[in-house]
Symmetry: C2
Subunit: 587 residues, 2 copies
């Protein structure tokens, strides 16, 4: 046995105990004849004390300890004269009698402190040292606890964890599949799952009734910040349920997690918002409702004033930024540039300052008099002291742009408190999404998503208005998870495939197994999936999911620590019957 206690558990009640601790040397301080060493492990930090007068040899040994040396120390727990309130073990220290160096350490490439001097690349390369830092360790601990509590809650609600395969079938639409060549079956490939969607529906056909899995999924996406090629889902499905049943169970899960992970009581029903309202009021299907600043449709009062930009447009909307009437020209210019960036895509930004004294100053004074501006301000629900921003364009587009500006203003005005959590169910998503490029409708979620019963009649006549039994859980403007009730009726499914332009052949190529399975008694079912990485990051107050992933890849999908991906040997390629095509010169 190497140790009797860990470095985080000794308290004043343990005084006079003989103990043995192990850990890493955080720092060594010499104060006159005394040497103090902070010994660190996962559980905490305990102070070791060496006295040059009582044990010269030992003290000199301690003075030679380097940062991150691994040591074993035996000694007696003693009450500290100057206590450290910031440390759980801060009331005691160990008078060391025996010291063993278990392993030395080279000087780490960055300091193992909460605020380190390492840059992201260096931290990722030496991730095993980065994890020694409290902020990263804390993120991993939170994630571990969260996974465990997810399981505890779902197990308590009769959900069975079932492992679905990782080596599955690549489908024609699976352009973003990672594939795995088979050595045994020449020229054939497995695919890694983007989600276990088909399998979880098969499990409902199989009668599993309530399924869950915390499972790795894979997507070979073009790279975006804070995306990982492999990510973890809390994947769930239930039989004999309607949307309300699903929302109830998973609202319960969310409350359980907030209580157990953050000690937050959410003793209220989560608000629900239909997708249309979310878009119109927040310019987003994932509204951050921690703050107001809602969007208003001012089309009717803004049109008809000979301002061609407004008069020729489809939709004009506004937000009122509280108390921002005093913004400078420079600040407003900056925001104009912000909305004109290609990522946002607005053509320009109109503003109206509603001054404290009730007067107005706007970028469209040429076209609007004070009464006109007052009418807009009223419609925008602005009050004296506010700054009104106006965007115009095609409805959904301009709402999205305004949604981005709203979030930006929320950030600038510190309205997005990380320790405040505002959950929201967004419901009644559209069933279809129109694609301008191909001039047709696509399933917004997937072709098994069930339409709302009330909208069965308009599926063919007015598909754009048809709503789905689909829902997202949004917290603080982040989509934490989402799902839907699935179609279990084969006649309706056939109708849906037809609407989506799936030939029988195409449907079969993509979903043959599921379509066959549905012939043998599929129960009504539905479910959802949560992004564990994102949810854990939110719970942890992290801006990046990398903070809650032990060994993340960098933004180029590369593991810089272990150096993957990498070349493989010609023998391996040969066994797989593969040849690498040279890169085309125009690439």
């Amino acid at each position: 046995m190497y140790r009797t206690h860990n470095c985080g558990e000794l308290r004043i009640a343990d005084v006079n105990k003989e103990v043995t601790l192990c850990g890493w040397v955080q720092r060594v301080r010499n104060l006159g004849g005394m040497t103090f060493t902070d010994l660190r492990d996962r559980y905490g930090i305990t102070q070791l004390v060496f006295n040059i007068d009582t044990n010269k040899e030992l003290c000199e040994q301690a003075r030679k300890l380097g940062r991150e040396f691994v040591i074993q120390a035996k000694g007696v727990v003693t009450e500290r004269s100057s206590k450290n309130k910031d440390l759980a073990t801060g009331e005691i220290e160990i008078i060391v009698k025996e010291l063993n160096i278990l392993n030395k350490s080279e000087i780490p490439p960055f300091t193992i402190e909460d605020n380190t001097d390492g840059g992201e690349d260096l931290l990722l390369k030496y991730r095993y040292l980065d994890i020694r830092r409290r902020p990263i360790l804390k993120g991993l601990q939170l994630r571990n606890k969260m996974s465990f509590e997810v399981r505890r809650y779902l197990d308590g609600h009769s959900f069975m964890e079932v492992e679905t395969p990782m080596l599955i079938k690549s489908t024609p639409e699976g352009a973003r599949d990672y594939v795995v060549p088979s050595r045994i079956h020449h020229g054939e490939f497995y695919a890694l799952p983007q989600s276990p969607q088909q399998y979880k529906q098969l499990l409902m056909v199989a009668g599993i009734d309530r399924y869950y899995q915390i499972v790795k999924c894979f997507r070979d996406e073009d790279l975006r910040a804070d995306r990982q090629p492999e990510f973890t889902q809390i994947d769930c499905e239930m039989s004999f349920v309607e949307q309300e049943d699903v929302l109830q169970i998973f609202e319960g899960l969310a409350k359980h997690l907030f209580k157990t992970i953050r000690n937050i009581d959410m003793d209220f029903q989560f608000p629900r918002m239909v997708w249309k309202e979310a878009m119109e009021k927040y310019g987003s299907d994932k509204p951050d409702i921690r703050f107001g600043m809602t969007i208003h449709n001012i089309t009717d009062v803004a049109k008809g004033h000979n301002f061609k930009v407004f008069d020729d447009t489809e939709y004009i909307c506004s937000i009122a930024v509280e108390g921002a009437a005093g913004y400078t020209r420079k600040q407003i210019d900056e925001l104009t540039e912000f909305v004109k960036r290609p990522q946002v895509g607005a053509k320009g930004l109109v503003y109206i300052k509603y001054n404290e004294d009730g007067t107005f100053k706007s970028s469209v004074d040429k076209f609007f008099n004070a009464d006109d501006l007052k009418a807009i301000a009223d419609k925008a629900e602005a009050k004296a002291g506010d700054l009104i921003f106006i965007l115009c364009g095609k409805k959904l587009q301009v709402l999205n742009q305004m949604g981005v500006l709203r979030i930006e203003m929320g950030n600038r005005l510190n309205l997005r408190d990380k320790n405040k959590f505002a959950p929201l169910w967004v419901v009644d998503f559209p069933l279809f999404e129109w694609d301008d490029a191909t001039q047709r409708f696509y399933a917004m979620h997937h072709p098994f998503t069930s339409p709302k019963k009330e909208d069965y009649d308009i599926l063919e006549t007015n598909p754009g208005e048809a709503r789905a039994n689909a829902y997202d859980l949004v917290i603080n403007g982040i989509e934490i998870g989402g799902g839907s009730i699935r179609i279990h009726d084969s006649a309706l499914q056939v109708r849906m495939f037809k609407l989506l332009g799936f030939t029988e052949e195409k449907a079969k190529a993509q979903f043959e197994c599921l379509i066959n399975a549905f012939k043998f008694g599929a129960p009504p079912h539905g479910g959802l999936a949560f992004g564990l990485d994102r949810w854990a990051a939110l719970m942890n107050g992290s801006d990046s999911i990398k903070d809650v992933i032990a060994f993340p890849k960098n933004n180029a999908a590369r593991d810089v620590m272990i150096d993957a991906p990498s070349a493989i040997s010609p023998e391996q390629l040969d066994e797989l019957s593969l040849t690498i095509t040279p890169l085309k010169s125009n690439e």
Copy 2:
């Protein structure tokens, strides 16, 4: 809400309740004016009753229900006149008032009964129907419970679950790696992990202290019965531990699982056996100690009787099969053929019948008189009525052969009761394994396995005798898991690499990240990994791991349900810069 109760929960106390149930039609029986329907879901079976006299229309509807139709039934819980003791719900039935067909079913390709008429191929193709059968459902339920209890136990012992990456680096030795081509990084590949070995050791360097993970691993092996290309490990690692600490913790886990899963109290210390004894007494590094029939070395008494086969050999050993002296010539011939199969590889089988009357009859009577045979029988610890089998050859080889014969005899004599569990720690494995083909030693486990301190001195001089701090948990002759204490001292590691013929370059190519990490303060650490599939199968009394895997692949590593692996599109290959090489004609 589709239902008020599930099909497994109604009891006599619920009589007179109005309930709504959902499920699958197991069967419909007409008895005179009454129609009985067994309604099945994951939780159980409840009997529905329809009376032609009281509700003709409804009863006729019920009579038309097909097998596996999905229905919803509303009615009143009533006490049964003839109770069914085999069913948890057998004291009640539902007098149905309303019946809704939620989905029809085609006739399934096999009967959904405990003993089905489907063959393995058909069952795998329609696995989603196979899972509806109790024996398969039960296996998945057991596995789910086991995973949950593993987590509960380990969490209670301060183990943190940490997810390690699935897209890792292929190593030069990773010939059995599944690889994943990168689209973004031309010509480069990830590998799927055969185990998270390096990552868990990195986590110890990172100070995680106690790690576990229930994790998918992958091995592109040549196919053997009951192997899966993807399998699940309970992977664990601990810091600041010696072998004894590891054994204690995981013996505790095993006891916890036997108690919670099978309600078996294992209130004894698991026996331990050194590898050498396991080989000499049981002819196996995974002895089934549910029965005796141990192997004895009879070399000294068997040699020197002018029987050339014995006189020219290295090692002669025996088992005594209790009460089998009466075996017929045919039975013995059959067993001779058994040991001569290439999978066992013996040249022949010598027998001695120790008859009830104290006389002997053997296949070597020409060379051995009664006294000689008695001497062998004594050495073999045989008694009158036993049948002695003798094999000879090179020591390890012949012990392995005898081990296989011993298990076969155990099976034939019904000495291997599935409901009896005999755990055993096998310890003190050899550090090295000699390979005749390449005439050198290899690491028996992996090159980070620590030698026993007592054997440090003989590492170079007598490597074949050096023992490792390595251990396996064996239950009923099945290796459930194994692991080792790792080397954390870099000088010892260098010595080990040298012994194994690793050049610095080769060690770097395979373990660069870990070797670097060890420079920054690696704690003493060790761990082990359990095969969840195998352990769950054992707990479930299953002969095949397929019984506890939701969607297993067949013995050709093919998923016949979803049809994977399969060809991918030319566009996909193009994006990955890959070309498939035609099969060589001689293949």
